[in-house]
Amino acid sequence: MNHLLIAPIVLPALVGPFIILVLRYHIDLQRIFAIASCVFQVILGIVMVSQANSGLVQIYELGNWQAPFGIVLVLDRLSAMMVLLTASLGLAVVLYATGSRWDERGENFHALFQFQLMGIIGAFLTGDAFNLFVFFEVLLIASYGLMIHAGGTQRFLAGTQYVVFNLLGSALFLLALGTIYSVTGTLNMADIAQRVAEIPIQDSALIRVGAMMLFLVFSIKAALLPLHFWLPASYANAPLPVAALFAIMTKVGAYAILRMYTLAFGPDVAATAGLLDMWFLPAALLTLLIGAIGVLGSREIGRLMAFAALSSVGTLLTAIALMTPVGTAAALYYMIHSTLTAALAFLIADQIFERRGGEIAVKPVMSQNGLLSALFFIAAIAIAGMPPLSGFLGKIMVLDAARAHPLAPWIWGVILGGSLITMMGFARAGTLIFWSGYGLDQKKIPISQNHDNGETDEDNHTSSRLTLVVCFALIGPLIAHTALAGYILRYTEATAQSLFNPQVYIETVLANRDRPVTSSHDDDDAHAQHDETQSHVSTEEEH
């Protein structure tokens, strides 16, 4: 077994408690360890992508229990790509939080951050549906802490809503898993895929209910339209660097949809065929549109960026909803772009917020107005999907993939119209923020804005240059994503092909299924059952 697979989960799982237990009062050491951990995760991510690039699917059996009974981690192209994306985003955000001293405004920022990364990366790597639930909980618990980091009335109120919404999601997740387990008798994703494929269509009612509930859970995470209400308030009221990290959270939902609905409940599976056809695509298009309209109507910079993130999730889900290999390849390309730009947008929003407050209204000119307006402009064209950055290429690919779809005119119309509205929204916000300023009275700005916690006044002046360096550094991957589009697209196309032909995945995961434990058949069964209990008990202990 290749122990590389578990390394990016174990690393933050060790660094997080170490920071809490040993480095509690040493913020500098906390920063050093957190940044070092993130750097190592990026390296691990790069190694994973290079290993997965050959099309090899690797599994890691936790505790060496064979696949349908124990928990497995699976590394294929999709998970490797997502791990690298998460790790890169984590590194950028942790550097920014250090530079802007956000990590000093409350307790345990770096430890929670490591747990958050552990949960996200675990969710991308696991091959077991119940383990997916556990990792969702890990990332959610950490996100509750990060969401209310540094406190403040609005943040606590928004945090309460966020926690309640996600707890409801978790309850629904368990109901869905219970239903699926009661039909298939397994929770291993590859095994579920095999069992679901054997269910005759007349017995499919219960599995359809389970699959649908599971889809609702993932839609909550991905903020698909009727379930998106948590997103704008949470993102706008979270500390904005944390919101930048949350840019990957909606992608966890999108990833889970992509994984489960190609592997287990795919378009060719008789039992669940046609489950999403009717309304997944319209809901995704509406998400895009609502996001774009929200951008136009926002009166506050955090909310503006939150709606921009919602709109890009809408585009992503539209591409996934096509449920074709071409659409999925485009979706994966756009997913990288969307995560990076959303993070960039939130970091820039934080810079603007620190200097002049969040309202999109006419105010005194802030310091470094020109520099920030340049950054804002780059983020705006990246989000709206204007050339020359990768948003343009991503949207072109999505449009191209949608050409054969019966709803193509609608898809084209909404994506192009949404881009136009988003662009107008950003033009309006940028004009008000950067061009309509008056006077040069910079001293007043921090005092008037920070009545919630006065001690941050000092921080504004000591916030280091690292923050702007990180913002500019995030543009680097965007340019690379554009310049190397050919290579990346080849990778995502191969990913999409293997997603829609999951035999390799299933066979690799279940390869050891019939590995003999003892000679007698009776004993074999007894051991198998025993394994099942043991492995799940050990999961509880781990988490």
């Binding site: 119940f130 556990v134 909980e137 618990i141 509750y144 209310i148 540094a150 406190g151 403040g152 009335t153 609005q154 943040r155 606590f156 109120l157 928004a158 945090g159 309460t160 809503q161 926690v163 309640v164 707890l167 409801l168 978790s170 309850a171 368990l174 109901l175 898993l177 219970g178 239903t179 387990y181 009661s182 929770l187 308030a233 706008a236 009221n237 500390p239 904005l240 009166r299 506050e300 955090g302 909310r303 917020f353 969040g358 309202e359 804005q449 920070n450 919630d452 941050t456 009776d522 004993d523 069964d525 007894a526 059952q529 099942e532 209990t533 799940h536 008990v537 999961t539 509880e540 988490h543």
Partner: protein
């Protein structure tokens, strides 16, 4: 027994959903707890109901056994939902103490999300 379990799940979920839709945080938290009880009982029953049977399959194949997996799942779910209830109580308490109001719908938030930081 099926009827008992089924109605317990149904009644707990109905009461939980009703409470979750209330305006103040305390009933909402109670609703979440009821809902998580309903989920736990439901999960427990997904391995089929069986009384007085051991949760392992032994050598004597004719002996009935009950599925051990849902029991392990329920344990995990109980631990997680218990921890989550503690978290939401603390967050809701912080929100209540700083705003002197335990409404959950963020009535003051409509336009001035900006002064939160």
């Amino acid at each position: 027994m099926e009827l008992l379990i089924a109605s317990a799940v149904g009644i707990l979920s109905a009461a939980g959903i009703y409470l979750v839709l209330r305006k103040r945080t305390f009933p909402v938290i109670l609703g979440m707890s009821l809902l998580s009880y309903a989920v736990n009982i439901f999960l427990f029953s997904t391995g089929r109901l069986m009384t007085g049977a051991p949760p392992i399959l032994n050598k004597y194949q004719d002996m009935a056994y009950t599925d051990p997996l849902p029991q392990a799942l329920v344990l995990t779910a109980i631990v997680i939902s218990f921890g989550m209830t503690a978290v939401i109580v603390m967050v809701a308490l912080a929100a209540y103490l700083s705003s002197r109001d335990d409404r959950i719908d963020m009535i003051h938030d409509q336009t001035t999300g900006g002064d939160s930081q």
